[in-house]
Amino acid sequence: MTDAISISNAQLRFGETVALDGVSLSIRRGTCFGIVGESGSGKTTLMRAILGLQRLDHGEIRILCNPLVHSRAALKQRAGFIQPIFQDPAASLSPRSRIRTLMNEVGTVLREPHAATRERLGVILNRLGLPPGVIDKYPHEISGGQARRVAIARALLMKPSILIADEPTAGLDVSVQGDLLNLLQDIRRSDNITLVVISHNLAIVRLIAENAVVMRAGKVVEGGEIGSLFGSPQEVYTRDLLAAWPSIRAANTKR
């Protein structure tokens, strides 16, 4: 099976700070890949590098076997197959335009008639459980969970084969969180999308990803198949992360 994304020896410094320190990983097509680690470990920087929003000092990123090129044309072309869902959906939606305007932009980029975009959007909104009226609203008029779903709808409208979600469940209630994760799972299966989930929620990554890496201070501390990574972590840091996870296990065993 071919790799959707492969990164070899990615290095990046911001002044004194080492943001990425020799990160190498490969993500198989059609799988879900988790990237976990504390804040400042370089998770989001890595995502920005994969999207071509951040140049690397050294190293190479290949997306669907093609090396990442930094040019406007390449960026535009890439938008057709790799799409992000940013951490703060409300901040990633322009506060000054209605959701409709935002979605129409997708049509412009795809050079698709607006009517066709709108038809596909209707299907996607329905699937995401969003009311059709949501497109006439401004981002501040919708709830956090809805904003996140709008961000996902926008990403899906581009018909990507790779979806990168940065902290998709941060700040969501447990009930809404489950809804969103089930949705991502559905999309993954029906559209055979490669899903990259960046999160510090270990319990969730453990359930939806096949493979994962643990990052710390710009390095990959440990990586591999989820079962063995979480079942028998080799590194001290991975064990610490797992131990720090607040769990309600105590009650379940008591029952």
Binding site: G40, G178, H200, P246, A250
Partner: protein
């Protein structure tokens, strides 16, 4: 001395009408205990804290409610009812320490300000010493240097420690922590929770922990109260509520938590997550009957008409829930 809050109701006047954010919420926290107040966004958790602190927005109106703190009664419907307690009887830890610390003053200046109020008449040198001591107590590295630093020079976890040090200096009878670890990493979260526990044990205050993480509540709290759409649905000791949730909503909340050791399907795309179907009712127009009725999986006829009162669960005086299924025929 126990802290109690009785029959708190808060309205927000909005363009679209009056939203009833809280309806008759009562809480009780024993001295030296930590009460976890859980609920979804929009359930009114933060409004409880803000009403106690007297920090509600201008469009909010406390329509009823009294609080007993340090043996004194406060009528919360009056503006600034608890002003005398701010900085002395009550302290609050907010979700984002970057927003609760003043960016233009050093850490030291902000800590000393607390002491000027707490211990008027003390001289500057003593205050600086006490502030440094507090920073050391919350295990902030190099306290002397931190005193002269500004909030932006510290990490999120360090900032939250500063806020805890502030609370420590004001020696409150009630500490309110509103989502104190939401902005922090798991590893830092555990440290900060330990500091809050340390603070509680040191000064013996009551702690109100507002959170949507049941994991935190079960790990650190003594008691739990569940809030839904502005109404308290259940309360009791963490152990009892966890062992046998009296209200379907509490049970569903517990089911939604994803334990780190949950059974995992070999094909990761097959793993499903539990959800609570439906949405919060309109805060402007309360449906008759049980507030949770529309999302409940065990509701029956009476639930649409009768608003349940508080029933004890398993004849336990400390554990009660507002569900008609607990009615004794």
């Amino acid at each position: 001395m126990a802290i109690s809050l009785r029959n708190l109701s808060v309205d927000y006047s909005l363009q679209q009408g009056t939203a009833h954010a809280l309806r008759g919420v009562s809480l009780e926290i024993q001295e030296g205990e930590m009460l976890g107040l859980v609920g979804e966004s929009g359930s009114g958790k933060s409004t409880v804290a803000l009403a106690l602190m007297g920090l509600l927005a201008n469009n909010a109106q406390v329509t009823s409610g009294t609080a007993t703190i340090e043996g004194k009664n406060f009528d919360l419907t009056k503006r600034n009812a608890t002003a005398a307690l701010r900085g002395r009887g009550m302290a609050m830890i907010f979700q984002d320490p970057m927003l609760s610390l003043n960016p233009v003053f050093t850490i030291g200046a902000q800590l000393c300000e607390v002491l000027r109020r707490r211990a008027p008449g003390s001289d500057r040198k003593t205050r600086v010493e006490m502030a440094q001591d507090a920073l050391a107590k919350v295990k902030l590295s190099n306290p002397a240097r931190r005193m002269n630093q500004y909030p932006h020079e510290l990490s999120g976890g360090m900032r939250q420690r500063v806020v805890i040090a502030m609370a420590l200096l004001s020696e409150p009878a009630l500490l309110i922590a509103d989502e104190p670890t939401t902005a922090l990493d798991v590893t830092v979260e555990a440290q900060i929770m330990r500091e809050i526990i340390g603070l509680r044990d040191r000064i013996g205050c009551a702690v109100l922990l507002i959170t949507h993480s049941l994991g935190l509540v079960t790990e650190y709290c003594d008691a739990i109260s569940v809030l839904y759409a502005g109404e308290k649905l259940e309360s009791g000791t963490v152990e009892e509520v966890q062992r046998q949730p009296g209200h379907p909503y509490t049970r569903m909340l517990f089911d939604c938590e994803v334990p780190i050791d949950r059974q995992r399907h070999a094909d990761a795309s097959e793993n499903r997550f539990t959800v609570i179907a439906g949405e919060l009712p309109d805060p402007r127009l309360r449906p008759p009957g049980c507030i949770f009725n529309s999302r409940c999986d065990v509701s029956f006829e009476d639930c649409t008409t009768i608003n349940p009162s508080d029933y004890p669960v398993r004849n336990d005086a400390g554990h009660s829930a507002r569900c008609l299924r607990l009615r004794t025929p």
